[in-house]
């Protein structure tokens, strides 16, 4: 039971719509975990279940060892939650709102002032502390939301899309803030942008269509996919029989040291061949020979590292797009 957040077989139906399909993952103490997935993948649903706002249809989730359904109050007391779009009361002043939330979150009356001062300082809200929340810019509202989630100094922070709608400078600022939180808190933040997660998180849970597609530390994931691919752009002289694009891919696939070939037709009629080498092999010379032997035109040959971005795209774009269009 060591994990701070433990989710097992979580399933959620909204009427006839399946939002979450047997999701399981864990978050260890002190990690900053990015909950990554395209819009509508079930991120917000999962976070709402974890915070006790919605119950799951089936499955189990525990935060800090407490069941989210049976010990909802204990769970809610141990998390700071910032929902998507940061809902706030527009008619309250920043300071007043934070004081109010401190009381709601069991901060004893005598400590409320210091708690408010601490988060105002931490989230750099000093200049707007007397302003009405309704008059704040999006960036400040976001910071008020963060300050609010920190007010009771909870061990777990759950942030739904914390940087959405911010300008680049503000995004930078919020990222710094979140990173600095990782020292004392366990953070689970959702995002639909990989770059976001890469910059702030140590671990990632990728969710697509309500299922957990991949989990692990970013470093491990990079290692796993850091394989090279060779990109070739070739064209056969027109009119020669038996030299169709499929035949090209087949010929390249027979080169020793090539494990897999994926072919895409470019818009200008050239063929792009993505060649995955077998482990440890370097088929570049063999590729050259094939091109020369067959008399193809070659305009590009380069090595490419597969990126996390590519992996994420593959996972989230659904099955159809990840199949090689014509493999050898």
């Amino acid at each position: 039971m060591g994990a701070t957040i433990e989710v097992r077989d979580l399933t959620k139906w909204y009427g006839n719509t399946l939002a979450l399909d047997g999701a399981s993952f864990t978050v260890e103490k002190g990690q900053i975990v990015g909950f990554l997935g395209p819009n509508g993948a079930g991120k917000s649903t999962t976070l709402r279940i974890l915070t006790g706002y919605l119950p799951a249809t089936s499955g189990e989730a525990r935060v800090n060892g407490h069941d989210v359904l049976l010990e909802s109050l204990a769970v809610r007391a141990s998390i700071g939650y910032m929902p998507e779009n940061v809902p706030l009361y527009p008619e309250m002043r920043v300071e007043e709102y934070l004081r109010f939330r401190a009381g709601l979150k069991n901060v004893p009356p005598k400590d409320r002032r210091t708690a408010v001062e601490r988060v105002i300082d931490r989230c750099r809200l000093e200049d707007v502390r007397r302003r009405l929340v309704g008059q704040l810019s999006k960036g400040f509202r976001q910071r008020v939301g963060l300050a609010e989630s920190l007010i009771a100094d909870p061990p777990v922070l759950i942030l739904d899309e914390p940087t959405i709608g911010l300008d680049p400078a503000q995004i930078q600022e919020v990222r710094h803030l979140i990173k600095s939180l990782g020292e004392k808190h366990t953070v689970l933040l959702s995002s639909h942008m990989l770059t976001e997660v890469e910059k702030t998180c140590s671990h990632v849970v990728i969710v697509a269509q309500g299922r957990i597609a991949k989990t692990g530390s970013l470093a491990e994931m990079r290692k796993g996919i850091g394989e090279q691919r060779i990109v070739l752009e070739v064209r056969a002289p027109s009119g020669r029989p038996g030299e169709g694009p499929a035949e090209m891919a087949r010929a390249v696939g027979q080169v020793s040291g090539v494990s897999n070939v994926r072919r895409d037709e470019l818009s200008d009629g050239w063929q792009q061949l993505l060649v995955s080498p077998a482990a440890g092999a370097d088929p570049r010379e063999g590729l050259h020979h094939v091109v020369v032997q067959r008399g193809w035109s070659l305009r590009e040959m380069r090595c490419q590292l597969e990126t996390l971005e590519g992996l994420y795209m593959q996972i989230t774009a659904g099955d159809a797009a990840t199949l090689p269009k014509s493999a050898a």
Binding site: Y53, I79, L88
Partner: protein
Amino acid sequence: MAKILLLARREISSYFVSPIAYVAMALFLVISGFFFALADFRPGQPAAMRSIFDVMMIILVFVIPIVTMRSLSEERRTGTLETLLTAPVTDTEVVLAKFLGSWLFYLAMLAPTLLYLVLLRVFGSPEYGPVASGYLGLALLGMLYVAVGVFASSLTSNQVIAAVTGFAILVVLAMLAPWMASVVPAPWRSIIREASVRTHYTDFSQGVVDLVHVVYFVALAAYILFLTVKALESRRWR
């Protein structure tokens, strides 16, 4: 309990910065002042507030839903309901705080009508007993109406729909029930009459405080607040 007070305090202060609450308050004072001048504050009339107490039962049917319409529906619309219900507070605490906040605002709205009493005192010598029981009746009446208003507000994220729903329930309870009692067959008659607000309210303005009437208002309000908690919890199984 501390959390209920904290939430209720926020509720009241949000009323005092909301223009709609002031509009409702002004509406209430204008109409009730009008009726006071017309019915009670006239030469030859006994120095009492009986007519105005009776007519308030009708005025408030229109005014209270406007006051309470935003209490939960606004939170639902802006999403603050999510931050509220993911804080360590129970749904019951939230509902009781919403009710308490709105009811205290209602009492504050009644306060200026004490001026009528001052006027009566200047020009005559009012009997204080019936006035006191009349205000007790108003406080209890408000309890029921505010509970209905908060309940209506818990059903929707649209303030207008909340106001109309609350208004419709109150029209049936306070205005249609006496008429319905007169048209339904005999066995139903007494049931509907007993459920009607009028049956239990008019005694107060005549200086009679009957425990049955007090129980009617408190119990019905409590039941409606219970339904409100259930409506709030319905997000869990809808």
